[in-house]
Symmetry: C2
Subunit: 506 residues, 2 copies
């Protein structure tokens, strides 16, 4: 007896759920590796993870999924427009095609090469010696070009095939247009701030902030904005991240420096933003694309929104500053809110992306995008990356790295094979601001709400408008649907201009 | 081209290793569940674990393993005597037969029933109401009887098929003989202690022992005896356990009560004993039976040896007591070593097995064994367990439980389907004492070594004589090989008599 489309769809979702569950087992092991695993466990852990990845890949590329997809795509379930089922089928097809298009040889070679390249990158960065990393960058670039060919690109631009891994449906042309518009306004704004001659007192943030108090204060803030610790945790990791294991369990990590307040605090708000997205996914769709985050840009829009638009706002600190003074009496008891607020919004060109402020951060991303594209097209040789990096950095930020470890060697991404990933950070900043403006239109004066300690309306709005849809719409469609307009850098620039007009008189 | 036995053996070990790796992924998830998982994660975790268990079972029962085994058993590799290969084949066959003999229906029913039975047990214990648990105990017993039939038993005793799961090669007749001999000496010894009228000052152990200091002191003791924290951790769990994830990664857990010193301290030494076994396994055999612990009794021999024969010895505290006084000045600064040593060796009949002292502990086990056998043979109805329990308890320990939660409802084992598990605790106590006497013959005065802080000789001896063999020999053979004599309760009784002669003049 042949199966009905409904039966086939149920089978397909069951396969999809098993792949997701296997991935989530790997996520637990990965989290433990970064948080609690003793040093001696590294080799065994990599054996465990590699077995799980192998089984997961086997399941994700099983011919059964291909058969079910073909059957369903020809059925009414697959041809209806804009139904949950058609969205799931579209996205499962997308994942299946990406997974099956890559030859096993290439997958294995990428895995092996990037594992060794990351080790080489660690040494090269430590020794500030790009030449140690160059042969590995060359290999990674070659393999990523091959990847692009295997995946295919209708646009004629190989980079699109890589970008599409992280940001489905977005092309280099889309990014270029958005980034050009952003650059044209951001560069003069940063120059104006620089020329204003005003500098906040940054020393405020490097006083003694005892770690136990930082932990408690960060957690109370994460809880206040809506992260549920009934269904999550905050632990310490050298490289902070958020990992959503699945329904009811989302792990945040951060790191503490008792003489640097912003690191752990804004880091925790940032990860809590990611975490609230994971906690806001529709559990009834767990294991299918509709129960999974839309894209990296949309994920980053949530983290940046809570970190910057909420956490670095004046209204947020109107509410939180008294508690901060109580938590850190030695550092803040005799410091005014104005001075503190100025310090956490210091704009200052700097070399390291992850330490950059809210404004200059985006220039770090534009630069990486401008280097990645020609690297993949073949117009830029890996050996020429340091020269081009320093030249562009000087042009964008007005300062020149003195060595490659504060230049092109600073990020792990390329060594890990993550090419096409960087743009999602700035796309996320733009999406976050555009969502925030839309929320403000729907919910009234958000800043007044923050000052009153009310974060629930914004959180519920994000749950409703963004989280619960999962991968139903691609990022650019989602932005259009939620905000009524195509994605644009205008809301981000309006936000930055307003904030810095008040702080720097620019 | 047909494969050679060497090729087939390599294939078989690879299959075995994948099953072990999958199990070890489950171990990480299980550890996290008991230590750090937020409450909301429980349902998702059980879905993850059940998928892993399913995939693991599928791999463990794959026809390929059966084919390889049949091929190898007929080859020279399988017919040689006492080689590593023949031992691996014997044990892989054992596991494969046990796994394939159980019908899938029975495995699933056991898993479902014991999961619900555990929940019922929790309620029943809380409400002190055996009748709530009775229907579940009846179901579990029925399923375990079926299990015994499916596995088979050459001896005519169904219980043997269950015991064999935890203690390969040991029969109820073996246990009965050993336990009868133990009982005949232990009951009068405990009675004599009771009649001596001497009681140590137990209050010493319930003073204030701050948790941070307990943790540090326990860890330093675990490290001193040889547990490696480079390859392990100590965390908090409600039900303490040790989980060896694999080479280089072994996790201990304990729980703290700031007004009860022995719980966390001896608990940590106990788990560290298990952990040192795991850390002492031969890594080159990881994934095959030769790289896995021999049996539950041998595992327990290691934990009890370090907990009791080392950790509760006078010589150990000759060395450690000054550090204990420094760690816990408020509790111990004005308490003599004699009084402290007396308190940690208090012998006193009590209701709860896990809180029992070194001597009476074994009576709790004898009792359970005497109930389990007729339960499985059908000579004892589940409904009659409370009555029989209380009657036997009174006979053995001279006190009568006032309700079933301090009687037959106290342990999780039966609700979890673990029938045939209890005897391994006392077998472990016997093995531990017998190993200790043998080590003393080989290494000289161990107590003098402990008093000098030298634990490495004993640890290395255990590594060499026991740990590195994995499952090469079954427990009774291993005891014979290591100590030159068959397993007997005599060494345990010699140890207890000597200790209590000094303490109680008996």
């Amino acid at each position: 007896m042949p199966r009905t489309p409904v039966q086939a769809y149920a089978l397909l979702l069951d396969e999809s759920r098993q792949v997701a569950l296997l991935e989530s087992c790997g996520a637990v092991l990965g989290w433990d590796e970064q948080t609690y695993m003793p040093p001696g466990g590294a080799e065994h852990r990599s054996n465990q993870l590699s077995l799980l990845a192998g089984i997961g890949h086997e399941r994700a590329t099983s011919p059964l999924i291909g058969e079910l997809l073909a059957e369903l795509e020809a059925s009414p379930l697959g041809t209806e427009n804009d139904t949950p089922e058609s969205a799931n089928l579209r996205e499962i097809r997308r994942d299946y095609d990406r997974a099956t298009k890559l030859p096993k040889r290439l997958v294995e070679e990428l895995s092996k090469t990037t594992s060794l390249a990351q080790q080489a990158w660690v040494s090269a960065r430590k020794l500030r010696d790009f030449s140690l990393f160059l042969p590995w960058l060359e290999q990674v670039v070659t393999l990523k070009r091959e990847t692009a060919q295997a995946i295919g690109f209708g646009s004629g631009v190989p980079y699109d095939a890589l970008l599409d891994e992280f940001e489905p449906g977005v092309t280099a042309a889309d990014v270029t247009k958005l980034f050009d518009a952003l650059r044209s306004e951001l560069v003069p704004l940063i120059a104006a701030i620089r020329e204003s001659g005003k500098r906040p007192n940054h020393e405020i943030l490097t006083r003694l902030y005892p770690i136990a108090a930082q932990r408690e204060f960060s957690m109370s803030a994460a809880q206040a904005i809506g992260f549920s610790f009934e269904e999550g945790r905050l632990d310490i990791a050298h490289h902070p991240f958020c990992s959503g294991f699945g329904p009811g369990d989302c792990r945040l990590t951060t790191r503490y420096d008792e003489h640097h307040f912003p690191g752990a605090f804004f880091g925790t708000l940032h990860e809590a933003g990611h975490g609230m997205y994971e906690q806001g996914l529709d559990r009834t769709h767990y294991g299918s694309p509709l129960g999974r985050a839309c894209s990296l840009a949309i994920h980053e829009s949530q983290s940046r929104l809570w970190e910057n638009l909420v956490g670095r706002s004046r209204s947020f600190w109107n509410r939180m500053y008294p508690a901060a003074q109580t938590a850190f009496p030695e550092a803040l008891a005799r410091t005014s809110l104005d001075d503190f607020y100025g310090a956490i919004n210091d704009v200052q060109p700097s070399y390291i992306r992850v330490e950059a402020d809210e404004a200059t951060y985006n220039l770090h991303i534009l630069l990486r995008f401008d280097i990645e594209r020609p690297l993949i097209s073949g117009d830029l040789a890996p050996a020429d990356v340091p020269g081009v990096w320093n030249e562009m950095f000087t042009k964008y930020l007005g300062i020149t790295p003195t060595h490659d470890s504060e230049g092109c060697l600073q990020d792990i991404h390329w060594s890990a094979g993550l090419v096409g990933y960087f743009p999602t950070y700035s796309l996320g900043n733009m999406c976050g601001s555009q969502f925030f403006e839309a929320a403000q239109r729907d919910l009234g004066d958000l800043n007044a709400q923050f000052a009153a300690g009310e974060f629930q309306p914004l959180k519920s709005w994000l749950n409703e408008k963004i989280h619960r849809h999962g991968r139903r719409y691609h990022a650019l469609d989602l932005v259009q649907r939620v905000t009524g307009e195509p994605l644009s850098p205008a809301p981000l620039m309006r936000h930055l201009k307003a904030k810095y007009a008040a702080l720097y008189g620019v």
